[in-house]
């Protein structure tokens, strides 16, 4: 099981928001897939899957998130 967290490169200080999940809860993903688009104060960044497996989404789109926050799991 692998945690998917917001990396510091995407959000360092303050909050951001996942603007859209590109995969759905329960879908199979591969390491390297772009899972979601995350907006910080300046731009939109890509959240990349660190592993392959089944995606469990823990935080919906349009909810504020912070650096290092756990937003999904891959099992």
């Amino acid at each position: 099981m692998t945690d998917v967290r917001i990396p510091a490169e995407i959000i360092d200080e303050g909050e951001g928001v996942i603007s859209v999940w590109l995969f759905r809860d329960g879908e199979t993903v591969a390491a390297g897939d772009v899972l979601a688009e995350v907006m910080n104060e300046k731009a939109v960044a890509e959240l990349v899957a660190p592993a392959s497996g089944q995606l469990t989404i823990l935080v919906s789109a349009e909810v504020p998130v912070k650096k290092d926050q756990l937003v999904a799991r891959i099992t």
Partner: protein, 363 residues
């Protein structure tokens, strides 16, 4: 959230189309429509130095609706131009650039703004080929956002499909998903005619507008074309044809899911192109099912739904088993308050009611 079977049918259909063009097998990555449009523009600008992009906020910002992300950094300000708020001038300029052999892509930020620049669109761009006896083409793309449902009120929520599809000399397209968005944009850029490329705000995948998950599908990174003028069958069915485009496609698919459980098998058509209308595809489907419901989030009267139904009725090729039906927005300016706007917009639920009514015996 479960992956709906119909979603994978949409994705499979897209994959089949891509494969048919000799493209790589099942692409992995998914794009939003906004990203797909940006990618189409990037690839065409790489391939063809005549392509340039201009409009308000399309440079540094990457477009208010994300259609031009990454272009300024890659191609520079000569080919990616943030313009003043001067639609008549820069859309007129696009007509002149096209006459001179360039391939401009211009963004009209909201279709509602067409009032300040319509002459350049329908009297210049649309008639350049005609007035020159075919000697001077107008290979330009006018991309523009359409649609409401998010409280932007009467001057920022309109669709106006019929207003543009009505006018000779223009092609009008609208994708319902990112695969089609990329392919239609590439087709539009390569078409020697003026193409109005509409993108529905509810489908862009911009965080601040919400999105429809079904519009996010796998997109090949090759340069493929989705042909202009060809509808596609998103879901095959026996009992009734629902004709849709843009956001309406997703409402139709959701409606079909609801009705499957009630034993009604709905065929869903995604027009993809509004002008020229793929009347053959519509007729073929309605000949099979004998029933037609059209979902159209534009104003009701004199709308595209009316044109589709008229085309079916006058064809003499179909014996309808129930009166044709259209589910549309009413003939009123789009109201601001969500309590007013939302119930008036077409929805999967309303569409399901309309489809059920097709099966009530006629007196």
């Amino acid at each position: 959230m479960n992956v709906s079977a119909s979603t994978s049918r949409v994705a499979d259909a897209k994959h089949t189309e891509s494969t048919a063009q000799g493209v790589d097998a099942v692409p992995r990555r998914r794009l939003t429509i906004a990203k797909a449009i940006s990618e189409a523009l990037t690839q065409e600008m790489d391939r063809d130095p005549r392509v340039l992009v201009m409009g308000e906020d399309i440079g540094r910002l990457g477009g208010v609706f994300g259609t031009t992300q990454g272009l300024l950094a890659r191609f520079g300000p000569e080919r990616v131009r943030d313009t003043p708020i001067s639609e008549t001038a820069f859309i007129g300029a696009a007509v002149g650039l096209a006459a001179a052999g360039m391939r401009p892509v211009v963004e009209l930020m909201f279709v509602d703004f067409f009032g300040v620049c319509m002459d350049a669109i329908y009297n210049l761009a649309a008639k350049q080929s005609y007035f020159s006896g075919g000697r001077v083409a107008c290979p330009m793309v006018l991309m523009t956002s359409v649609g409401g449902g998010y409280g932007d009120a009467g001057q920022h929520s309109q669709c106006l499909y019929a207003s543009f599809a009505h006018l000779p000399g223009l092609k009008v397209v609208i994708p319902s998903n990112s695969h089609d968005a990329k392919g239609l944009m590439i087709a539009a850029i390569r078409d020697p005619n003026p193409v109005v490329f509409m993108y529905h705000k509810a489908l862009q995948g911009m965080g601040w507008l919400g999105t429809v998950q079904r519009s996010i599908v796998p997109v090949s990174d090759s340069d493929y074309v989705v042909p202009i003028g060809k509808a596609t069958t998103v879901r095959e069915g026996r009992d009734v044809t629902v004709v849709s485009w843009g956001l309406g496609v997703h409402q139709a698919v959701e409606c079909a899911d609801i009705l499957m459980k009630e034993g009604i098998d709905v065929e869903v058509l995604d027009l993809r192109t509004l002008a020229p209308l793929d009347r053959d595809a519509i007729l073929q489907s309605v000949q099979k099912t004998g029933r037609i419901v059209v979902v159209d989030d534009d104003y009701r009267s004199c709308g595209l739904a009316a044109e589709i139904i008229a085309s079916v009725c006058e064809s003499g090729r179909v014996a309808l088993r129930a009166p044709p039906c259209r589910v549309t927005f009413p003939d009123i300016p789009v109201p601001f308050a969500p309590q007013m706007e939302r119930p008036l917009l077409p929805s999967a639920v309303k569409l399901a009611e309309a489809v059920r009514a097709q099966f009530v015996s006629q007196p």
